[in-house]
């Protein structure tokens, strides 16, 4: 079942990617990237990462699509025909893509328990989380309690990003 879902979603993703490359209209491009994000969210939920899937659906497919559309409204959208056909970019893309696929062949199978990722710190968190913090969701206890300092940094990053956008875009009254 999971295999089929993955298969269908990945097929759709590749179709959308090709459409994004081929399409010239900016409006359709934004809608397509939103669809891409939504499919990625479905893929993440199939992989049991529900919280990441939720964020991807709300930010990637929802808010950022709206932001891109409003940016499109603010700027002038002129469709241009891409005339210069060059073989170099596609060769480079295929080469890098091939190398990445070759790299995945060396990875351990998805979800194995005795991989380096799952055996040292990860296993320690799983053992200690409930006796030490009594928080059943280990993701939350790692994020908020063990790595609380990191999460504070993340929130500060979001705060800084908000201020940056505000300084660039807000209309300040000129005295």
């Amino acid at each position: 079942m999971e295999f089929f879902l993955n298969f269908i979603i990945l097929i759709f993703l590749s179709f959308i990617t090709i459409a994004i490359i081929k399409i010239n209209n900016l409006f359709s491009l934004i809608i397509l990237t939103g669809t891409y994000s939504f499919l990625m969210a479905s893929l993440l939920i199939v992989m049991d990462a529900v919280d990441v899937g939720m964020t991807e659906a709300a930010v990637g497919a929802g808010v950022s699509t709206v932001l891109l559309l409003s940016a499109l409204y603010l700027t002038e959208s002129k469709d241009s025909n891409r005339s210069n056909q060059n073989a170099m970019p596609i060769v480079l893309c295929l080469l890098v893509g091939g190398l990445l696929v070759y790299g995945t062949l060396g990875l351990p199978q998805y979800g194995l328990s005795d991989t380096p990722v799952n055996s040292y710190v990860g296993a320690l968190y799983l053992e200690r989380s409930i006796p030490e913090t009594t928080i059943p969701n280990v993701v939350t206890s790692v994020l908020a309690s063990y790595r609380g300092y990191d999460t504070l940094g993340e929130v500060t990053v979001i705060f800084t990003a908000g201020i940056g956008v505000l300084m660039l875009l807000k209309k300040f009254k000129q005295d």
């Binding site: 939720m54 964020t55 930010v59 808010v63 009594t134 206890s141 994020l143 908020a144 956008v165 209309k171």
Partner: protein, 143 residues
């Protein structure tokens, strides 16, 4: 403002459920998937949806830009305030066990809930503020 009946009624029905879902994700974060970041983006998406249907001016009546500008630093303040509190209580920075001296595990739960609230406030307010500053600008020659 959109006058299409289907969209207007659908948005009225969906909006409370979106907010309830966000609050569930927020306060159930100890037990299920989710937490401040996820709840924050869902809250922001719900309000953006409201603004798309009813217009930005209507949303600004509910949440003014000034209020959002105060909420963005408030979240960071709540988060780091918990850290400083645990400092004052004699422990390390962000050591939640000290928040409830008689029951350290209750202190952990409390600390996580409070900092997640801080995360929610900052994330939701920042997303909305970015949305405001994008869609509040008129096009060249509009006004």
């Amino acid at each position: 403002m959109i006058n299409n009946q289907i969209i207007r009624i659908l948005s009225k029905i969906l909006f409370p459920f979106l907010i309830i879902f966000a609050l569930y994700v927020q306060f159930h974060g100890d037990y299920g998937p989710g937490g401040g970041f996820q709840a924050g983006v869902v809250v922001a998406a719900a309000f953006v949806f409201y603004a798309l249907v009813n217009g930005l001016a209507k949303l600004k009546e509910i949440i003014s830009e000034k209020l959002l500008e105060c909420l963005v630093p408030l979240g960071v303040l709540i988060y780091s305030g918990v850290g400083v509190t645990s400092w004052i209580l004699g422990g390390n920075f962000l050591d939640y066990s000290l928040l409830d001296k008689s029951d350290p595990s209750h202190g952990q739960h409390m600390g996580v809930l409070i900092i997640e609230l801080g995360v929610l406030i900052t994330v939701a307010a920042t997303m909305l503020l970015i949305f405001y500053s994008f869609s509040g600008r008129g096009r060249k020659g509009d006004s």
